[in-house]
Symmetry: C2
Subunit: 372 residues, 2 copies
Amino acid sequence: MTAYADSQEKKMTQRIYNFNPGPSTLPLIVLEQIKHEVLDFHGSGMSILEISHRSKEFEEILNDAITRTRHLLGLDDTYHVLFIQGGASLQFSMIPMNLAVSGKPVDYVNTGTWATKAIKEARILGKDARVVASSEDKEFTYIPENIPIDPSAAYLHVTSNNTIRGTQYRSFPETGALPLLSDMSSDIFSRRFDPRPFGLIYAGAQKNAGPAGVTLVIIRDDLLERVPRDLPTTLKYTTYSENRSLYNTPPCFAIYVCDLVLKWIEETVGGLDRMETANNQKSELLYGYLDSQDFYSGTARQDSRSRMNVTFRLPTPELEQQFLAEAGTARLGGLKGHRSVGGCRASIYNAVTFEAVSALVDFMKDFVAKRG
Amino acid sequence: MTAYADSQEKKMTQRIYNFNPGPSTLPLIVLEQIKHEVLDFHGSGMSILEISHRSKEFEEILNDAITRTRHLLGLDDTYHVLFIQGGASLQFSMIPMNLAVSGKPVDYVNTGTWATKAIKEARILGKDARVVASSEDKEFTYIPENIPIDPSAAYLHVTSNNTIRGTQYRSFPETGALPLLSDMSSDIFSRRFDPRPFGLIYAGAQKNAGPAGVTLVIIRDDLLERVPRDLPTTLKYTTYSENRSLYNTPPCFAIYVCDLVLKWIEETVGGLDRMETANNQKSELLYGYLDSQDFYSGTARQDSRSRMNVTFRLPTPELEQQFLAEAGTARLGGLKGHRSVGGCRASIYNAVTFEAVSALVDFMKDFVAKRG
């Protein structure tokens, strides 16, 4: 058990073990800081909810969030860190609008619901969206290997972690000069990776980076050069890069909470390597238990398992209903699988403690034991 | 002084008098409720920031916010209440995207910066945007009269209150069968008006309705019928109307705060008529003082004055600098005019108390008296 988990657990008496897939649990010290300063932000005599987005106070928050993102992910000066509203779902449209190139196809790997939606939005915009690899043949239970790279495409889009099916890329395809774009909504800041192959990374904040209501977009200079001039102003990446995400009023509170979460990763957890270690410990505990018995069965192929979303089934739908009901009574929340696939899912994002995963495994063992 | 103001003042010792133009001051009881339940929402063992947007708890918040909006504004069943991200600035684009009609012009009244931006976005989208009336000839210091109504247009767009220039429509143009659309970002819920001529009303929440990060959109059935099928999914009004604003993860916390603000208007203030009375009392106090002396001069024409944003000048820019500096020391914040026009501005939205406006007038008198 890590030190931050330990310090959190002492205060967990009222709170449930929250395995929600997103919006999801936040570090307790982040919530406590919000509580502490919601009436008066840093002696300003105003709530963070009442402060101008053009004030010194908010500028500091925004700059801090950008700096921490750069530092945690190891981004060089060619990358711009933007905060945009509309969720990852709006990015499904903004990406082809901004980054498609006339006469070139746009390539996608289809690993589930969210990738499918990204492809659909590119096609709505009339782009030649090609599915160059897919795991649809086996209900999206794995990450495709040997993804074809076609340098004549405008970009290759992947979904780094698939919350619904519980799969995750272990390593990313080597795309050479072809810009790699990734939806990292459900695993950003959960592990170290080399950002350099990526032309654009985006993440709805509500899983690993903060609350619902803001999307982090990281874009490289050469991709910004593609942005057409005649797009609606708030749908152009250049509007955000040229105005430091302050062209119009941003979602100030959501950015403030993101900044607190990033500060927690850097200063309390101790950086991305430690965060990754903690995440590995949690997922190893849960997968280790899954592999040690045959009542519960994991749904993702072993080599494609997500360290963020652990999907599993019980022998029957009736047992799954009982499991979810008893888990709720035991103050373990958010374990229901996505409505489109059923079953069970434990989302064990950054802010979920080892203690919580341990409590879940204990509960799972008890549930089996009671049934003899 | 109203009862709610009185109850708030007792707790104002640490807080400044906040005249920010947006994000702007919130009712103290709203902030206190956020503080009270930010670690545990209604005994759920989770923060409102950690709760699923598909949970019963959030559904109740969303339904309550919709019901209160309907009740406060007197909307009948033909209207849909939507919550959309992206600010009023995204609405400048979504409106022509969704509601323009092939072969018809789209008509706008230009009353300042925000109307100008709305017109610009319609033109970026290739629409035939006509400025049918404007107050640009006198630096947007008034609301045009006798606005031409052309029933062959797709719609007429107005900006009900102009935060930068301090003007506001007293009554709206009678458009007959031509749908009237209005940006009400800075005066929604501040006064009673007849919604029936409006095909669409929108408001960034961060002035009178809540925090930054969510935009309230009210749209009538017949306008929804115009929405083209081939728009990007998150940019179609029908996506929000058909999914109760839950197609993708909404900005849950911002909607929660909006709901608390609407509850405050209904239950603490006592409804929209009382809210309007309180707003009239505040603006009469401030304009009454402005008209009683000749050191400060209001910038808006008397018949077009905003009851939300009171814009004024001092005899010289140097005196304005001193005024703003001394106001800050006296814990009166947010009085600087918009960077595009300079001068001073007191934004006296719903949550600004009579006491705060009274303190401002006292400060203004003292500032003059000291200069003898």
